[in-house]
């Protein structure tokens, strides 16, 4: 098979990654079928969504709200389930 992908000789030994954090460049957001949408009137900025997010796809904005990084968010819905205020709703992509 010929293609432009690296040959076995061209990969680093044992597939070691020499520039850690390379996963940040992976668009895992395109796996998502639902995205979290926050209702600011219910959110009290407690940060429980940020604590529970397994992919570190939430970050605090300058107003103290936790914004979703949609490039990495896989839409698992854990943030919506854990939110004590019911401030996060999962909305189907495309709606």
């Amino acid at each position: 098979m010929t293609n432009d992908k690296p040959t076995w000789k061209e990969y680093p030994m044992a597939a070691t990654i020499h520039h850690p954090g390379s996963a940040t460049g992976q668009n895992t957001g395109d796996w998502r079928s639902e995205r979290p949408v926050r209702d600011d009137s219910k959110c009290d900025k407690c940060g429980i969504c940020w604590i529970f997010c397994p992919d570190a796809a939430l970050f605090m904005d300058e107003d103290g709200f936790y914004e979703v990084d949609l490039f990495h968010c896989k839409g698992c819905g854990i943030c919506a389930r854990e939110c004590g205020k019911g401030a996060i709703t999962m909305v189907e992509e495309g709606e």
Binding site: T7, W8, Y11, M13, A14, A15, T16, H18, S22
Partner: protein, 391 residues
């Protein structure tokens, strides 16, 4: 120059590890390997060996800890046997897959059940395909030498693959033998400091062992296999250098009285000593019998094996391991595969003997050779035969 001393073989292996200036040992005691790591533990406790001795709760943890110490660039050793080796199983693949040049001594012992603490090769044969370089020692001196050589071979930047030195449990590990013990300076001159290519270092972080998606897994396995196959050339180089430095010659396959031999006995490990006496006796009785001994098991020495059996009418391969429901002994299977492409090849018979510490006697060798002559005349009758079993 060094000195000639008498020493228990296990303790000589520990001495080799000490002379190799190992940085880390992680091990869990198991018969008949215990004396090796017990002695290393003592050396560290006494301050005679500047290494970290990591006590762990199992062999699974021992090999895992070894992967960790090797990954930070420490020269690493462990030893085990039988169930302990079996418990390491999944981590053995990780050591070789991560290309960590760990050296391990295996004091070969039968696997349970029934429980047996005695010797055979079923433990290492179950780990045959884990990607480790594998040697079989016949004598204590060889176990000592191979241990030192193994570090040099495994750590060579063309290889970077873990290596196991097999020595028969009890019949080799627990006997006292004479040793030509080198001076530390001689070992230092032969074995340089480990210079790892990539290490885990907080200041220069890397990720070892990431997920290998289908897109790259095959390429990474090819890389690993090429390194193991390439180890063959490095092993020959290291043995040549060793011979120059210490005067002892090492070859992948050892031959004894094979000139003009009709029937060759093939064996691995310490039983070769008895086999040589059997060959001498049969030669004296006019039988054209010789011996070949497998020292290098992985990477398999195809060319050397073909050359070693050239001209023989038959090879009687004695395995101390039964491949249940398979074609006989593992060494026999490999030998048959190596010879299969040849237009002219000897008859190859598989015999299973010496399981669970049962002695392989002179009479067993005579029986095997007699049966091989019978097969030469009458043709094969069995896939393999178990020798010495009570019917």
């Amino acid at each position: 120059m060094g000195k000639r001393i008498g020493l228990e073989v296990s303790l000589a292996v520990s001495e080799a590890v000490k002379m190799a200036r190992v940085d880390a040992v992680a091990a869990y005691p198991i018969t008949p390997q215990t004396h090796i790591v017990e002695e290393l533990s003592q050396m560290v406790a006494d301050g005679d060996l500047d290494a970290d001795f990591i006590m762990v709760e199992s062999e699974h943890s021992a090999m895992s800890a070894c992967c960790g110490t090797s990954a930070v660039g420490a020269r690493t050793f462990t030893a085990t046997a039988a169930q302990g080796l079996a418990l390491m199983h999944e981590i053995l693949f990780i050591a070789s897959g991560l290309r960590l040049p760990i050296v391990m001594a295996i004091a070969n012992r039968a696997l349970s059940a029934p429980i047996s603490i005695w010797g055979d090769h079923s433990d290492v044969m179950a780990e045959r395909d884990t990607g480790w370089i594998q040697f079989f020692a016949e004598t204590g001196q060889e176990a000592f030498d191979l241990t030192i050589q193994a570090f040099k071979i495994a750590e060579d930047k063309r290889v970077l693959t873990p290596a196991a030195v097999n020595l028969d449990g009890f019949t080799l590990s627990h006997v006292i033998e004479p040793f030509d013990m080198p001076d530390q300076e001689e070992v230092d001159a032969f074995l340089p400091t480990f210079e790892p290519q990539v290490i885990l270092d907080p200041d220069n972080p890397v990720t070892m062992g990431p997920v290998g998606f289908p897109e790259i897994y095959t390429e990474i396995k090819k890389q690993q296999n090429e390194a193991l196959l390439g180890a063959h050339e490095v092993i020959l180089e290291v043995w040549e250098e060793f011979e120059k430095a210490f005067g002892r010659a090492y070859r992948p396959v050892e031959s004894y009285r094979t000139d003009g031999a009709e029937v060759l006995i093939s064996i691995a490990g310490s039983t070769a000593g008895t086999a040589r006496v059997a060959v001498d006796n049969m030669r004296e009785a006019g039988k054209k019998v010789g011996l070949i001994r497998t020292r290098l098991w992985r990477p398999y020495p195809f060319e050397e094996t073909r050359a070693a059996v050239k001209g023989a009418k038959a090879v009687a391969v004695i395995d101390r391991c039964l491949s249940f429901g398979g074609p006989g002994g593992p060494i026999c299977s490999e030998l048959r595969s190596a010879l299969y492409p040849l237009p002219e090849k000897p008859v190859v018979n598989s015999y299973i003997a010496g399981l669970g510490g049962r002695d392989i006697t002179l009479q067993d060798f005579y029986t095997v050779v007699e049966d091989t002559y019978r097969v030469l005349e009458e043709g094969p009758t069995d896939e393999y035969k178990m020798i010495g079993v009570r019917e």
